[in-house]
Every structure is written in structure tokens, then in C-alpha cells.
């Protein structure tokens, strides 16, 4: 069978495409729209279930109101996530058909499994949200548990594919096509994907937690500070505040895996031209093709971070030809944005946890709540910057050191038209979702309290 496939493989050739950059931007735009919704898919069901569980344990109606109101938002965001996720799977075929034709047999399994997670999530989120007051309380709580599990496994399967693109294995290459594929070991025997998954899992709680907390902090600054709002803020902010400092540890793990498996990406993160022993790290600055200028140099920091040894040798960009290097300044900027915002969020989280655990109350400074309002959108920026770091850092490869993005792109015309259309549609969608959430927030609390 493989022999037959090999015979027809040569037919699927890479195409001339004038709009490769636009195709990449279109894909990046779609990912940037979808990924914040994934965070809600990971973290929100667990928070809603926590509230309902607390209600069942204590009989405190505030928790029930909270779970009911949040579950409506959860369903709306899930519906939007369904369609933005559908666009992504369409785009894989529309924009990168040669990638799918050559390697779909290796990584496709991850998406097949994800499809089932998606099914379970869709089925039980409907039962949960439409089942309020219609199912017995304990059964209703139980119906939410598959949503939590499927939200986690869904992202796990998708990230297993991304881990494979960054660290490919489990097949033999012939004429640019994958033959003799072993999908299970390619996806799940891949040492590279676990840090990506755990990093994203924590990011889910950081983004969802800070975004939800930001809305209540905004309300606090406007004087809306009843028991309902304080409870909501405590739950969302606690989740984010705990995940943010722990993310630093996970980030360290990620950096070391990148250093070991993708040295070119690491060199691009820093803008390290020549291979260096005891490599420094530059804050800010600009990479001019050889060195980083105008930055603040911290000696030996890169070696220390990447290999836990201040004298370790770090491979530079010069180790690979120019056409095999990612765009260094985009990469540096994205990485430093992620790390910078991540550090601020971790500090904010630590302040909150100190006050909450030590003094058993919420912080009282208005400045704290102003910071939380900012932390919401900033966490989304850090999330997207993080994905830019890993995805742009993989360039010019779609399958790291195996297939170039330019070999994967479609030969079809009209990418700019599609790109423009998609921008307009996403703007409309964002407007619609914003309007919807505003409307939800204006429903009086009493409407949900009585069922």
C-alpha cells in the first residue's frame, strides 16, 4: 500500500504562491482569535463547576447565581469557539494543502481524537447549561464534569500536533512525503509536547481568570461591590493568581526543552549571532543581523536560563544558513513581551495571594484593582505573544527542518480576498460577542437568583 502511495506522491508538488506572507498572517489571525476562547474552554467549566459544588455543599445561593450566570457566558463563548475552531480546520486544508497531503497520515490522528473531545464537550455543555433546574442537582453537577475533562483533552490532542510540528518524528521521508507513519508514537511518544501542553494549561487559567477578574475589578472601581461581585472576583482572581507564579517554573522547563531541541529558535529569542560560551541575554534592543544593539546586556544569563550553567555554550544563528533562520526581531519582541507581561502578572498574583491568605481579605487599594483591569487584556497579549514565539520561531519550517512553509502553501489564487473577508468577519464577530457579554452583564442578579 505504501508503495502505491509513493508512486502517486510525486504529483503533489509545492506551488508558486505570491501571497505566502498573507497566508501565514491569515492563519495567525485565526489562531489569535481562537486561542483566547480555548483558554475559556480549559478553565471556565472548572470554575463554574466549583461554584455549583460550593452551592451544593453550603447551600449558599450566591454560588448558585454565580454558576448560572457564568454558565451562560460559557456556552456563548463555546459556540464562538466552535466556529473559530472550524475555520482553523478549514484553513489547514485551504492554505496548507501540501502539508496536509504529505503529513496528514502522521499527525491527523491527534485531530481525530480531538474531534471526539469536541463532541463530548458540545454534548455535555448543552446538557449542563440547558439542564439548570431541569435535572436533579447532583446529576446536573455530574453532567458538567465531562465538559471539564474534554476541555483539557481537546487542547492536549491539538497541542500534541503542534509538538510534533516542532519536533517531528515517527515516519520515514520519501520524495517529501511521510511514509511508514506511526501516529501514536509520533504524537504521544514525543518528549517535546508535554511542556507545551502544561504551559498552555496554566495559560488557560491565567487568561480566563484575569479576564473575568478584570470585569469585576472594573465594576469595583465603578462602585459595584456587593457580596456577589466579591465572590466572583475571589474565585476568578485566585485561579489566575495561583497559575501566574507557577507558570514561571513551567516556562523555565519550556525554555530548556527549546534549548535542547530547537537551538535556532533559542538563538533567535535572544538574537545570538555566533555560537557563544557563557552567552548573555539582552533586554529590549534591536537585532541588526549580527548582534543586538541598544539593549541592556545581562552577562551569562542566556546560558544560565537555557542550560542552568552560566558557562554553557549556546548555539548561535550562524550555525544554520540565513534562509533557515526565523525573523529574529519579531521573535525577540514576542518572547520579551510574553516574559515581561508574565513576570508582572506573577507579581500581581503574589500580591493578591499574600493579602488574601495572610489577612483573609481582598486587597483594598484602588491601584490594585486598576492593575487587575489591565491584567485582563495584558494576559491575552502575553498568550498571543507566546504562541508567536513558538510558531514564528519554527519558521521557515512548517515541519521543523523537514518541510518549509513555502512548500506547504496552496497554489490557489485569491488569498488577499480571503484574508480581507476574514478580517471583516472577525471584526463583526468580535463586535457581536462584546455586545452580547455586555448585555449578559446587565441582566439584574435577581433574574438568576430565583431561577
Amino acid at each position: 500500500m505504501t508503495a502505491i502511495l509513493g508512486a502517486v506522491c510525486g504529483v503533489f508538488t509545492s506551488a508558486d504562491q505570491d501571497y505566502l506572507v498573507q497566508a501565514r498572517q491569515m492563519q495567525a489571525l485565526s489562531l489569535a482569535v481562537h486561542i483566547p476562547l480555548v483558554c475559556f474552554g480549559i478553565a471556565f467549566p472548572a470554575m463554574v463547576l466549583f461554584c455549583e459544588w460550593r452551592y451544593l455543599r453550603t447551600g449558599d445561593l450566591v454560588f448558585r447565581t454565580l454558576a448560572r450566570r457564568w454558565s451562560k457566558v460559557m456556552l456563548a463563548l463555546f459556540a464562538v469557539g466552535v466556529v473559530t475552531g472550524t475555520i482553523l480546520s478549514f484553513e489547514l486544508g485551504l492554505l496548507w494543502p501540501a502539508f496536509m497531503a504529505s503529513f496528514g497520515n502522521v499527525f491527523g490522528l491527534g485531530f481525530t481524537l480531538e474531534g471526539f473531545s469536541f463532541f463530548i464537550e458540545a454534548i455535555f455543555i448543552a446538557i449542563y447549561v440547558y439542564g439548570w433546574d431541569r435535572l436533579p442537582p447532583r446529576l446536573h453537577l455530574l453532567s458538567g464534569i465531562p465538559v471539564v475533562i474534554a476541555g483539557v483533552t481537546g487542547s492536549l490532542f491539538v497541542i500534541s500536533v503542534n509538538g510534533w510540528m516542532n519536533h517531528p518524528g515517527g515516519f520515514e521521508l520519501r520524495q517529501g512525503h511521510a511514509l511508514d507513519a506511526h501516529p501514536w508514537s509520533a504524537l504521544f511518544g514525543n518528549s517535546y509536547f508535554w511542556h507545551e501542553f502544561v504551559h498552555m494549561y496554566f495559560a488557560g487559567y491565567i487568561v480566563a481568570g484575569f479576564l473575568i477578574a478584570a470585569t469585576y475589578a472594573w465594576g469595583f472601581l465603578r462602585g459595584r461591590w456587593g457580596r456577589y461581585q466579591r465572590t466572583a472576583l475571589t474565585i476568578a482572581l485566585s485561579a489566575a493568581a495561583i497559575a501566574a507564579p507557577l507558570q514561571v517554573v513551567i516556562g523555565d522547563w519550556a525554555a530548556r526543552d527549546v534549548a535542547n531541541e530547537q537551538p535556532t529558535k533559542l538563538a533567535a529569542l535572544e538574537g545570538l549571532g555566533p555560537t557563544t560560551r557563557g552567552a548573555p541575554e539582552h533586554l529590549l534592543g534591536w537585532y541588526d543581523g549580527h548582534h543586538v544593539g541598544y539593549g541592556i546586556e545581562i552577562p551569562r544569563l542566556l546560558s544560565l536560563l537555557a542550560f542552568h550553567d552560566p558557562n554553557a555554550t549556546v548555539e548561535g544563528l550562524d550555525a544554520v544558513p540565513v534562509q533557515d533562520r526565523p525573523p529574529v526581531n519579531v521573535e525577540r519582541f514576542a518572547f520579551q513581551t510574553m516574559v515581561g507581561i508574565g513576570t508582572l502578572l506573577a507579581l500581581l498574583g503574589a500580591v493578591y495571594l499574600y493579602v488574601r491568605l495572610r489577612h483573609r481579605r481582598l486587597p483594598s487599594s484602588r491601584w490594585f484593582y486598576r492593575a487587575v483591569v489591565l491584567a485582563g487584556p495584558l494576559s491575552v497579549i502575553a498568550l498571543i505573544a507566546g504562541w508567536i514565539t513558538t510558531e514564528v520561531g519554527r519558521q521557515p519550517w512548517i515541519v521543523y527542518r523537514i518541510m518549509r512553509t513555502s512548500q506547504a502553501v496552496t497554489g490557489a489564487a485569491g488569498i488577499p480576498v480571503g484574508y480581507g473577508t476574514l478580517v471583516a468577519v472577525y471584526l463583526g464577530l468580535a463586535g457581536g460577542v462584546g455586545w452580547l457579554l455586555l448585555r449578559f452583564s446587565r441582566v439584574p442578579l435577581e433574574a438568576d437568583r430565583d431561577g
Binding site: 497520515n105 490522528l109 431541569r134 507513519a181 484602588r366
Partner: protein, 415 residues
Amino acid sequence: MAEIPMVFILAGLAAYTLLASADFGAGLWTLVAGPGRAGRAPTREHARHAMGPVWEANHVWLIFVLVVCWTAYPLAFGSITSTLAVPLFIAAVGIILRGASYALRGQLEGVHGRHPIENLFALSSILTPFTLGTVVGGIASGRVPIGNATGDLITSWLNPTSVLIGALAVTIGGYLAAVYLAADAHRLGTRTLELDFRARALTTGICAGALALAGLLVVRYDAPSLFNGLTSDGGAAMIGFSAAAGLTTLFLVRRHHYGPARVSAALAVAAVIAGWALAQRPRVLPGLTIDQAAAGRSTLLAVIIAVAGGAIVLVPSLILLFHLVLRGRLDPAAAPDATVPTPPSITRKGRTRLLAAFAGTTLLIGAGVTVFADPGWARALGVICLFACALSTFSLATAQPDQKTSPSSGISSRR
């Protein structure tokens, strides 16, 4: 073995046609709600609400079809998506609009300027099934050659067969939606709505039948090899079966037997898809048989295992969902269950201390092991410790959520 994933794809396609096209059909009926006995507003309302709990699950079938196709038949998938990029993109945009209208449904009541928005959403309900139908037509009439966008970007989907199948897809959607909505109205006891949708079901059912017959004529001249397949052996048997099931459905709808009508409608649609598959067999694309298109043995085996394993979880879940929905257990008017909250639990100080100590210990071990240990198992242990730390800290931070001190008082005094 090369054919088993294709059976999954066809089954997924049948499920998508039966479930999601009915959803698109409901969107169609919100666009052309009048004239009817029940009036425009209640008709729109009914069409909008009926699909509520099942919308997302119905939609996932399309994802299922795509992912199995690109895993098991990657070469065919790449050829199809690159040549048929235009209709697929339009369908994708239509799906965004349909999803948006689902998320916003019911919220647009009484909002100024809602009619153009609602019509845009409803229009997407026509556009998506039509373009997806043209994709099927492009494949069935052999207009997708192997290769990266090697077919014609326009005539591959704007051709007689494609347009016909597109129109048929829209009509079948309208028909199925009308049958389901009539059944829902019957269950909810709204007689006028039931009669309206019954009339619509009969009209669109006859239209669908007429289109299908006309389609055979078009295919005869436009895609002779497909026509030969459809009129001989298995293909002909399936088409005949479909016609019989379609007529049975019309009869059952006329007699108000909506439950059996759903079943026979499902059989009619599934038979058309099976007939298409048999007519084209073993050719997937021109010059590409199913054996040539299929991925290697271990990939196919992995797909089969994944789908079989997934089905063990999926099938009972789907049965549960449809059981709840069709029995009206998730209807807005369903009787509420009495809630019996248990009395408040008592928190003990000793337990708080213990939890705090646990959180601190797991933090130290987790961070230390994750940062400094290299073997995979040690890292796994470190991450587990970090999760344990996160959970215990969360439990501490959310215990007694701030009952006695209200920070706003502290602030107002400071200001």
C-alpha cells in the same frame, strides 16, 4: 482496510446532512417565515429555539468528516481543499455567521436594526449548505484532479452537477428542518405552528424529489460515469431505496406521524450518500483509487482504533442528549426539580493549617524537581506536585470568601 475510514467519513457526512442541514434549514425558515397561520414572529421564534441544545453537537460532525479525511486520505484531502478552496471558504464564512447567530439568538429581540443582521444570519444558512453541496458535486463529477490547486478554481464548483447538488442540499435542509420543527410543535402542543411546518415539509419534500429527478438528467449529460454508477447495481438500488423512503416520509408527515417520519427521512438521505459512494467506487478522484489514496497501514489502524474507542464514549452521550431533548427534558417550560441544599459545613482551623503546610511543601518539591531534575518521570512528579499546590492554594484562597471585611468601606474612608 483502506475502505473502513471512508465508511466513517460517509457516516459522518450522513449525520451532518441529517442534523446540521436541518439546523441550516431552520435558519432558512426564519428568513422566509411568512406567510403562515401562526404569523411571522412566533414562527421565527420556534425555528430559533428548537435547535438550541443540539446545535454544537450537530456541528461537530463536519469536523469529524474533515479530520478523518485528512488523516486517512491525505493526498485526496489536499487536492480537494486546494482546488475547491472558493466554495469551502464561503462555507466557512457561512459557518461563522451561523455560529454567531446561535450565540446571539434571543438577545436581538427589540434591538434597533436587528432585521438586516437576522437576515444576514439566515442568508448564511442558505450559503453554507449550497457551497458544501457544490463541493460534493465537484468531487462526484470528477472535476478535482490530484495535486495542489491543479483543478479550475471556478468551474470545479460552478457547474451543472455542483449547482444542482447545492440546490438539493438547501432544499433537503429546509425539508428536514420543517419535519423536525413540526414534530417539536406537535410535542409543545402549538397546533398552528405544527400545521404550518407540516405544509412546508410537504412542499419542500416534493421540491426535493423533483430536484433529485432533474438531477439525474443533468448528471447524465454532465457526469456520464457518475450517472452510469447511479443507474446500475448498488448505486441504482440505493437510489431506488431513497426514493421509496422519501415517499414514505411524505406520507408519514401527511398523517402527522413525525417520529417515524424522522427515521424514514434519515434513511432517504443516508441512501443517497451511500448511492453516491457506490457509484463512484473505487475511484476517489480521477486517477486515484481508494487504495492509492489511503494512508499506510498503521495510520489506518490508528484511525479505526480512535474512532471505535471514541464511539464507545460518543454514542451513549449522543443517545443521552437526544433522549433529553426529544423528551422535552431540556425545554424552557420543563418542570423544575426541587433543589435540596445540604446544611452549611463547618470549617476547622486545624485543617486550614494542614492544607497550608501541604501547599507549601508541594510548591517547594514541585518547583525544585521541575527546575533541577532532568529525567522525564521526575519532571512528571514535579508537575503533579505543582498541580497539587495549585489546588490546595485555591481551596485556601476561596474558603470563606471575604464575608466580614468589605474593602469598599476601607477605601471610602481613605479617599
